[in-house]
Point group: C2
Chain length 155, copies 2
Amino acid sequence: MKKADVVGILLDEKDKIPVVVLKTVEDNIQLPIWIGPVEAIAIQNALENVEPARPMTHDLIKNILDGLGAGVERVVITDLLENTFYANIVVGIGGREVSIDSRPSDAIAVALRMNAPVFINDQVFEKMKEKMDPDERLREYLNSLSSEDFGKYKM
Amino acid sequence: MKKADVVGILLDEKDKIPVVVLKTVEDNIQLPIWIGPVEAIAIQNALENVEPARPMTHDLIKNILDGLGAGVERVVITDLLENTFYANIVVGIGGREVSIDSRPSDAIAVALRMNAPVFINDQVFEKMKEKMDPDERLREYLNSLSSEDFGKYKM
């Protein structure tokens, strides 16, 4: 398990989908996670310390945790299954820990608000590597095709 | 304070903004609250018992509350100030109640998932009445104007 910083939000150039980029503290491995636009704004607001006039949904989560006297011990990006990243929010309350299943985007938006560290499980890097390594040249070829090419060849 | 049912989501015809409609159980007074599109989907999914493949943000809130052994006692639409509705989520844990400030849309999306009742404070109806009653004819006149009319007269 490696500790990671939240570097920021990028926009995937091809599909205009937001990407949150994590970077491991120890060895600077970058992990991009494709997320929804609303969660991207929630993460961006936390990174920029934007305080909305009314609590947005992730601010509400912070307010609920604070109100119950609970904290977030850590957030863990746990797995990558069929192109979907999985995460846990580990909540601490009264000396015990409760692990809550979460999309990574929600987990990161909550971690930033609760000043909680983010970790990435080792198997996530291995699965990213499997996805990337042997097909790197094929991937570059596919990326060089336009969306019209994709429509034409029905890949 | 009046108990209310969540009737459903409508789309404001003029501006295409989603509206969640509440109706008091006792005397069928309807209360429309203008909300965001993401929160509208969160409410609609709960009304239709849609279970997403991965937990969406309001499902995460339910999972956090369940994980901590907390419940939602009730949700209260508390006030209407400068065209903004205010709400509280009253969370119960270990015999005590904690009141959390929330946008009504989030509060309703959470209430539906936690099978919690929704109430509306009396002052909300009074303020809606002030807004509506004396100016009803003016309001109808304004509604009859197109957006170009509004631009023209700079009202």
